[in-house]
Amino acid sequence: MAKFKEKLNWRFGWLWFNKEKVFMKSWQKIPEQIRRLLVLMVLLIVLFLIVRSWLIPPDCGKYGHYRASAVDNIISQPLRYAGQVECGDCHEDHMEVKNAGYHKNLACEVCHGPAADHIENPDEVELLAPRGRGYCPLCHEYLPARPTGFPQIVSDSHNPMKPCIACHEPHDPKPPETPRECSACHAQIARTKSISHHVYVPCTRCHETPEEHKIRPRDFRPTKPQTREFCGGCHATQTPEIKGIPQVDLQTHGQRYVCWQCHYPHLPEAH
C-alpha cells in the first residue's frame, strides 16, 4: 500500500503541491471502507461521463432532443414533384390557357407526372400525359361520395370507346357543348330522383336556373322554392285532386316549415 501511495504521489503530485500533507492527512482520516467507496464512485462517474459522451451523438441537442443530422438526412431526399410554378417558366402558353379554364387549380404534375427530373434534363426526360379513357375518370367518374356539383360522368355510357381528349382539351376542358342535362354535374341527385316519384318532374320546375350557371356554376346559383305554397301547387288539399298525388292540408300539416325541410324533394317518399 505504501509503495502504491509513493507511486501515486510521484505521478499526481502536481495536483496538490504543498498541500499534499494536508490532503493526505484528511484523506487518512476517512475510514478505509469509505475511501474505497469514494474512489469507486469517482471511477463510476468518470466511466458514466465517458460512456455518455460515446453513446450520445455529438450533434444531438442542436435543435432539440434528436440528432441534427437525422433532419439532414431527411431533407437531403431528392424532390420528384417540382411544383407548377416551375412549369410556367417554359410552358407559358399552356399555363395561360390552363389558368383561364376550369382546370386552373389543377397542377400540371397531376396528369403529366412528377417533373423534377424533366426540369433538370428537359431533353432527355420527357413527360407524357395519359391519352386513354382510364385517367380522367379517376376524378370525373360518377361516385355517390363525390360532392355534388363536381362534374361527373358514367364512362360506360358517356361516348364509349372515344378517348376523353377527342372532345375535351385537357388544358381548357370546356364541355364541347353546354350541358343540357343537369345530371352532367349533379349525377347523384339525378340518380336519386330517377328512382323517386318525382322522376318526371324536371329540375327546372323547382329550380330557376340562370343560363350562366352552366358556365360559371358557383357565381350564378339556381334557386330553391321558398314557400309552402310552391309544393302546395300539387300537394295541397285545396288544389284539384290529381290521381296518385298525395295531398295534405297546408293549414294543419308541417306548421312553419318549408316542405323541403322535412321531405327530400329528390326522394320525397313520406314513409
Partner: protein, 261 residues
Amino acid sequence: MKKEQRKKLPRRDFLKNVLRSCAGLMLPGFLFAKEAGKKAAALLLDGLYNPAEHSWGMGIDINKCIGCGRCADACKKENNVPNVPFFFRTWVERYRVFENGETLIDSPNGAVNGFENLTDERTIIRSFFVPKLCNHCNNPPCVQVCPVGATFQTVDGVVLVDAEYCIGCRYCIQACPYGARFLHPETRTAEKCTFCYHRVVRGKLPACVEVCPTQARIFGELKKKASPLVRFMRMNKIRVLKPALNTEPRVYYSNLDMEVR
C-alpha cells in the same frame, strides 16, 4: 499482505486499460463532431430556413375531396413508398353511411387507383371521402414510446423518424392511434408522413397538397396571420381526429362526420 500484493498489479493494469480505452472511445466522438458540424450548416440551407420561425399544419376540407386519390399516388412517388398495398404515408378513405345505420369504410389500395362505385346507392344516406395522414400531434404518443429516441418532433412541429437510430421495434406503429405508421419492408425501420419536410424547407408545398385538384388539402403556417391555413381555420368549423386522446393533432378537418374515427 499476500492478498493485497496479488490485487495491486491487476488493478493498476485495469486502470491503465480503462484510461487507454476511454481515450480510444472518445476519438470517434471528436471526429464525428466535426463532420456533424459541417452537415448542420447544410441543414440550414445556407441560412435560408430557420425552423424556429415556422409552425406547420394542414387543413382538410371534406366537402371538397373528390376521392381521386392523386394525393396518395403523388406521396408514393415523391417519397419512394413501396408501391404495394398496406404501405401508405397518406391515403383516402370512403365512408358510406346506410339507411339502417350501418357504416362501410373502404380504401382500396389507399385510393392510389381511385375508387369504384360498388354498392346499391339507393340505401346510402350519406357518403364522403376522408383523406388521412400522420396528424403530427403536438403531444405525440409515438415519440413517447420510442425506446431509442429515434422519433422526435422538430421545432416547427413536424414529427420525424431518424432512420439510422430506429431499431424497427414497431412500438410507435402500435402507439399511433391514427394508423399513420408502417414498417418499411426493405429498411425495416418505421416510416411515416414527414409533411414532405424536404420540400417544405425549400419553400415548396407537400406533394399531396401540390397535386390536390380541388384544394381539399391546405398546408401552411399555424402561427402567422397571413396564411392559407389560418384563413381555413377562420372560415370553417374545424375538428381533429380522436380529440379525446389529447394528442393535439396539427391536421384539422372541416365538415368532418361523426362516423369518422
